[in-house]
Symmetry: D2
Subunit: 330 residues, 4 copies
């Protein structure tokens, strides 16, 4: 049995706890959570140890994996501790919003080579990953364009939005990373961003409702990312890879596989899955499986700290592009 | 220019007239139609000769093609005349409802070998024919099952239904023929039919609203045909060929290629085409083109008199099966 | 915790064991399995009690649920024992192949009203059940036709086929039951069956490779069931409900939601799921959840002993129809 | 009969000639074409008058409609002549590449109000237009995003590309216009362009293989246009309208409605139509019909000279954006 300490029992932490609990190879040993009613909830649900002093957790030799889903500004600290104590580390995205702190940590990580997996769940989605494999098998020839549509069913709470780092850092970060997964060794060399907001709240909190980014890689691949904070028909998360010889799509998941035909319509399907826990259930299970394998040393990490760092740099470049209304070179 | 004489200017005859008129190789020379207001309509629309004595039409050496869309009980007479005068003949389905008369004619036809094309338009439908070609290319291996769904948007007028010969002869006849197209040299050896009617009118006129027929060929291919006199979402006419290595479908045609997504549904398409003139527009054009080529002697007929005869025999076997509630051997 | 005793640890029993083990409300207390290497496997995997004397299991007050996946000819005995000891009972389909034994048991069951759930997993499939709900909501008006396509990716082992009771009892039994689910209180009144076999093995073991059944209900609903023991593109299990106002489909599940476009094809999807454990994963989880609720008395059973009995009667009628080559009235 | 004079019998002119010839209300009276073998071809095919002095055509009172498909730099001259002689005018896109000349003409047109229809065929496509109607019916609520994918099966000849005005003026001009059709009175206020080329020829002739443009309207609607000069699977021309309450798609047209299933794939469709004459056959017929109605004065033009002018301005803004690597305000 591999013992896990979960740091942070908020919305996303609770989902991870449930997945860890269901996983046969993992045992949820500790939960670290400052908010009392949350730590009590964790205790009740999983009968795990509740520890308010995180140092003790890191010092405990029984802990194999540190699972970081605490607030963004704690990520660097916990990763560093994890490195010191030779733990296998999972860390939710995004990394600390201060890019230079991440750069420092990146250098240490390159030196110390900890086992670390970032929370870019879409890399583990069977569909999104399947078209990467088909791309590698040359099914569409030379890659020329990547087009990602990524719309959430509904915006997070305003309180979250205020401190999330904004649409490019809390939401599009997944899409930057996904582009990079498909690009492989080819790197993004320029970025341009445009946004729009219809609901007034977004201007008030200096965030954006819609965002579109166009990027270009060194080899000339054009990437287009389209984000929306809302989508009436559920999670709309599609990837389109266009190549010289063809196109690969990774599509959405409907609630079930039924269709209605009547005088007004044909082949009318159910809306898409509306909850990210359902939409990415398979991805989360695969990710946990790979985290276990990473801990055992049998595979490399599919989503590294450097991936998190570069995605954040791209998000920052988007803000610069928005401000200057021009192409930003990287 | 190839001259056409159209016999019968009813609903279906009018559609043929329009298609003949649009075809660059054909000229609509005569219309033979006993009903005055219809023959006047023909005159007005196409400025063709109106002839009430059909013998004169057959005797006119300028007439190349005889196009028969007159009432069913005139078909045999007109085909025989056409043979005598060496015309190229098109004849609408079904043939005369008296099977023994058709058998006599079949013998003459086998001897005289006239150029004749039957009005089995579905054989000419690009989709339905495309899967026949794919079947021949061995794309699904050995053929094991043929499943045809064939639903009309709405029933014909009751007056037509009363004299049409019934659902097996006026409607399913197309599906019998389509099965035979896919079966090629393999022959249907047994038939079983079941019907049902929900609207009262059908019992009153001794017809059926729904019909399902299962057939088996000599080689063991099972055919299932499903008919309905109504379909709220338009023409629902699909073919499914199931084989050892795969399956081929020939599907429906929506009004246009648009889709609607909202909180209740995703990928909701428009209903299917609702009018057979639209649904089989391509088929009718191809059929006319082949009729021209048949006249010129460059191709063989895709739908022969014998095809019409065998389809009618299958329809008759279905009525026998209904009556006896058992399998009918052919 | 609800304690489960699993009787039979064959292919299907092993799947149930895994699902029971994953379920949070259930504990796999006993496995009863005569074959040694299988009972050892159960012990190793689940650390449960292995008991070769089934009476002890029924007598153990700690056992709440009896889960029967032992050979078909043991089903009646175990259900009766379960009734005596007031256990909640799950029983795999089909019931005993001797219909009169089942009739006797049915009478006892009607009197004693045990909590019993039959293994008709398709009733619990979210898609198949969803269209039942939409039918009840009158989305397609009066039901007129039910068309079920049900093809397994590959046949079971010949050894299984020899004693399975044949395609109507081991495979189409699910489709009979599914038809009955959609028909509700309307009953099937007549049946006709046709079969075909291309591979020689089927004739040798007196089974069939393909089977098509047409049935008619008292109210006039026509049901068509199409079975195949093989299907190159995975599980092909579709339901089509046709009504006066529209049509409902419950479709298949592809391996993932990706598509390939190239010069030969567009929108090419992955094959369907190939393994029933994957295809019906959701159904099995829902079924276990309802079994728990049934045990607690909060719901009624969605699939009763009577459902199993009637489905078997329909299967038997099909064999009679095959023999006599005619419609069988029920 | 309405008499048409066709100016220019190149590739596109020949298609128009064929459509005019098939149209029952129109007669192809004149063809004006300087290239001898082309004018001879026109004479042979349509038995129309061939006139090398265009003035005589404009002076002929029998000519009702002037159909301009001659080289781009003759468009202004012919439109002006048409206005002088009160002809109904059709003019192919793009207008003269010199924007200031068009501006001058625009002023005259606003004053003289000739009957003029521009060759923006996509406005007339039943699918693309259908979602405009659905948008007006408020089916997706407030419009927030327009995403157009527009890929040609293969690039035009290099000789054409050299003088075409480039990808934004010869190809994306359709997409600018389509965006404007959906935006209605809302106007595009900013533009950003990025391009890429993999094949060397494009750099040599200073054109681009791929182009992506993001635009923003005054009301905040974001438009994304994706162009490619090649597409292995045929014409890929899709429109996606995203709104507060839903999404509308206008999709592609496959060669036929058939699908193949085998061990490697399911629901594999035929490639998209590969030839613009086929892809936009319906659009061209509707456009001619409306041209006739415009001539008769029963409708307004769906695609005006001003539409052509504004689309060209947007194309020019894209070149500026490319050069300066920044957002261009309009």
């Amino acid at each position: 049995m591999i013992n896990v300490a979960l740091l942070g029992f908020g919305r996303i932490g609770q989902m991870h706890a449930e997945n860890i609990n269901k996983n046969k190879d993992l045992k949820l040993l500790y939960v670290y959570e400052k908010v009392d009613f949350l730590s009590k909830k964790a205790k009740k649900l999983y009968n795990c140890k509740i520890e308010k002093n995180y140092s003790k957790i890191f010092q405990d030799n029984n802990v194999d994996i540190i699972f970081i889903s605490s607030p963004t500004n704690t990520h660097i600290k916990f990763i560093e501790e994890g490195m010191v104590y030779k733990k296998t580390i999972f860390c939710e995205k995004p990394l600390d919003l201060n890019i230079s702190k991440n750069l420092k940590l990146l250098k240490k990580i390159k030196k110390n080579k900890p086992k670390i997996q970032l929370g870019f769940n879409r890399r583990y989605d069977p569909g999104h990953f399947s078209i990467k494999k088909d791309l590698s098998k040359n099914k569409i020839g030379r890659l020329e364009k990547i087009i990602i549509t990524s719309r959430d069913p509904a915006p997070p709470k305003t309180s979250y939005l205020k401190s999330s780092g904004g649409i490019f850092r809390d939401m599009m970060i997944h899409d930057f990373d996904l582009c990079r997964m498909y690009l492989g060794k080819d790197e993004i060399s320029e970025v341009y961003a445009v946004t729009s907001s219809f609901e007034k709240i977004y201007k008030k909190i200096k965030d954006h409702e819609l965002a579109v980014v166009t990027m270009k890689s060194k080899k000339g691949v054009i990437c287009v990312i389209t984000n929306s904070r809302h989508c009436s028909f559920g999670y709309d998360q599609r990837v389109e890879l266009f190549g010289k010889k063809g196109m690969l799509l990774s599509g959405n998941k409907e609630i079930n596989s039924t269709e209605l035909f009547n005088k007004n319509q044909s082949s009318s399907k159910k809306p898409f899955l509306n909850f990210f826990v359902d939409r990415y259930e398979d991805a989360h299970n695969i990710q946990l499986k790979e985290l276990t394998a990473l801990h055992k040393g049998t595979i490399k990490s599919r989503s590294t700290f450097e991936d998190g760092y570069v995605a954040l740099k791209l998000a920052n470049a988007c803000y610069k592009s928005l401000r200057l209304k021009k192409t930003i070179k990287l």
